[in-house]
Amino acid sequence: MEVFEHLATGFMAAGSLENLLFCLIGTVLGTLIGVLPGIGPIPALAILLPITFGLDPLSSLIMLAGIYYGAQYGGSTTSILVNMPGEASSVVTCIEGHQMARRGRAGAALAIAALGSFFAGCVGTVFIAAFGPPLSAIAQQFNSPDYFALMLLGLVMAIVLAHGSVLKAVAMVLMGLLLGLVGTDINTGLTRYTFGLSGLWEGIDFLPLVLGLFGIVEIIRNLENPPPPRETISTRLRDLWPNKQEIRDSIPAALRGTGLGSILGILPGGGAVLASFASYTLEKKITKTPRKFGNGAVEGVAGPEAANNAAAQTSFIPLLTLGIPSNPIMAIMMGAMIIQGIQPGAAVMTTRPDLFWGMVASMWIGNLMLVIINLPMIGIWVKLLSVPYRLLYPAILLFCAIGVYSTSTEPFMMVLMIVFTIFGYILHKLGCEPAPMVLGFILGPLMEENLRRSLVISRGDPMIFIDRPISATLLVATLLMIGLIVLPQFRKTREEAFQEE
C-alpha cells in the first residue's frame, strides 16, 4: 500500500541516529520547559526555537516537533499536579486531573495522560499519512457561516464544563465572550472596552488571564483552607500506576477522544482548540456515573488528553497540505519551516517527500520517546508534591511571573494577572467555575468575526446559515446539544419539587 511506502520513506529519514537524537533532545527540553508552571507550549517553542536554527531542515523540524509534544505533555503535568494550565486545552485537564491528584491519584492521572496521548499520537500519525490530502479538501469547504455555527456549538459545549448551575455557566460563557471582545475591532479598526489603556488595544492576553483565574486562585484557596495533610505519598510502582478499573474506564474515552480530536484538528480556523473541550463534554454526557465528574473522573483526563494530542497531530494537515497555520503553534512551525527555506504547502510532499514523510514519522517517534522518558519520570513528578507546600507555592508563583514576563516584558501584564486573580477569587467565593469563561474568551472573537462576515457576504440575510449544508448540520447539532443540557435540568427540578412536597 502507498501509505506504508510513504511511512517507510519517512521512518528511513527520521530514523537516522542523529535525527533520533535531536528528537530526544527536543522532547526532553520541551518537557523540562513545559513542566515549569505558567510556561505552556507556545512560550516554550518560542524560547527554544533559536537552538534549532543551526540544524538541517529535517533535523530542525523533528526537534521542534519534539519540543512541541514535550512542552504539551509538560503542560499537562503541571495542570494535573498544581492546577496551572499553560494553554487553553490544559484548562480541561485541570478539571479532572487535578482532582485526581488531590485524591492521591496523581501518578495514575499522569500515566493515563501519557498513554492516552501516545495512543492518540499513533492514530493521528496514520491518519495524516492515509487521509491528509483528501481531508484537507473537506476542511477547505468551511466558510464563514460554517465557522460561526461551529463556534456556537463549541460555546454550548462550554456550558457542560461546569458542574453546578447551568444558568451560572451560561453567564460565565457570556462574560468570557465579552472579555474576548476587548481590544481592536477588526472590522472598523476601532478599539472597544480598553478603558483608554494602550495595553488592552490588542485584547486581553491569554496567559495572565488563565494563570490568574486558575493557578494563582488555586494557591490562595490552598492557603485559606490548607488541604488535610496528605498521607505520605507512596512512590511504589503499584500506586503510581492506574488500577484496572481506571484503565478499563479510560480506554473507550481515549478512543472517542482520538476520533473527535483527529476530525477537529484538520479544520483550519481554530477547530483544534475545541478538541479537548468537546471530548470532555462528550464523556460527561455519556457517562453512567455523572457524579464522578468534577471529583476526578479518569475519563475526563483520558478523553481530553487523547483528543488534544490527536488534534495537535492532525492540525499539521492544513499546514503541510494547504500551507495554512491553524493555530499559533502551527504559525511558529510555519515560521521555522520558512527559516529553513521550505515553503509549507502541498508542494513539499512532491518536492521533498523525505522531509514531509520524515516529519510525519517523527511525530510518532516523538510521541514514543515522550512515553518512554515520561513514564519513569512520573515518580519524580509525584514526589514534587511531597515538597512542603510552604516552599512549593512561592516557587510556582515565581515561575508564573517569569512565564508571563518572557512572552511580554510589559509591566502591564502583571497588572492583568493581578486583576484576574482578584476576579477569579470573587468568582470562586460565589461558586462560579471559570472553565466555561475561558472557552468563551477564546471563541468570542472568532464567533463575532464570522457572524459579521457571514452577514456582510449574505447582505444581512440570516438564511445563509441554513442554506449551507455544513452550517445547517452544525446548527442542528447545537440544538440537540441544548436539548441534552436542558432536559436533565427540568427532570432535576421536578425531582427536587417532589422531594420538597
Binding site: S165, A171, P394, I418, R452
Partner: protein
C-alpha cells in the same frame, strides 16, 4: 426580603454589574444593523443576556436554599498579589535576582508561621536557579542585576 442562597445572590449581582458596566462602557459604540453590524452590536446583545441571567439568578436566590459565601481571608490574597506586583514593578530596574527573592519573601508571608531563615535560603537558591535557566541557558530578556 430574605436571601436564601447567598452565593447565588452574590453571583447574580456580579452578573448584573458586569453586564451593566459592559452596556455603559460600550454605549458609545455604533450598534449598526444585522446587514452591517457595528462594533457595538454583538457586545450589547451579550451584555443584555448577562443582565437577564443575573436577574434570574438573583431572583432564584431569594426563593431556593443554597450555600453560604465562605469567609474571606485577607492575608493570603493580599500577600500573593503584593508578591506579583513587586516582581512586576522591580524586575526591569533591579534585575531578576532581587525581584525573584522579593516575590518569594512576600509570597511566604501569605502564611502566618514563617521560618525566616529557611525562606531566605530557599529564595536565594530559587533565584539562582531562575537566572541560570532563564537568563543564561535560554537567553530571556531580563536583567540579572541592577539594570543591565
Amino acid at each position: 426580603m430574605v436571601i436564601k442562597s447567598p452565593q447565588d445572590f452574590g453571583a447574580g449581582i456580579l452578573f448584573i454589574l458586569f453586564g451593566a458596566i459592559g452596556l455603559y462602557v460600550g454605549s458609545d459604540l455604533t450598534f449598526g444593523s444585522a446587514r452591517n453590524m457595528g462594533p457595538g452590536y454583538f457586545p450589547m446583545i451579550i451584555c443584555g443576556l448577562i443582565i437577564l441571567i443575573g436577574l434570574i439568578v438573583t431572583a432564584k436566590s431569594l426563593s431556593l436554599e443554597g450555600p453560604a459565601i465562605e469567609r474571606i481571608q485577607f492575608r493570603p490574597i493580599l500577600f500573593i498579589l503584593l508578591a506579583i506586583a513587586a516582581f512586576g514593578i522591580f524586575i526591569a530596574q533591579i534585575g531578576a535576582i532581587i525581584s525573584s527573592i522579593l516575590l518569594i519573601l512576600f509570597a511566604a508571608y501569605a502564611r502566618r508561621e514563617v521560618n525566616f531563615v529557611e525562606t531566605i535560603v530557599f529564595a536565594v537558591c530559587t533565584a539562582a536557579f531562575v537566572v541560570i535557566i532563564f537568563v543564561y541557558a535560554l537567553g530571556q530578556p531580563m536583567p540579572v542585576w541592577w539594570g543591565r
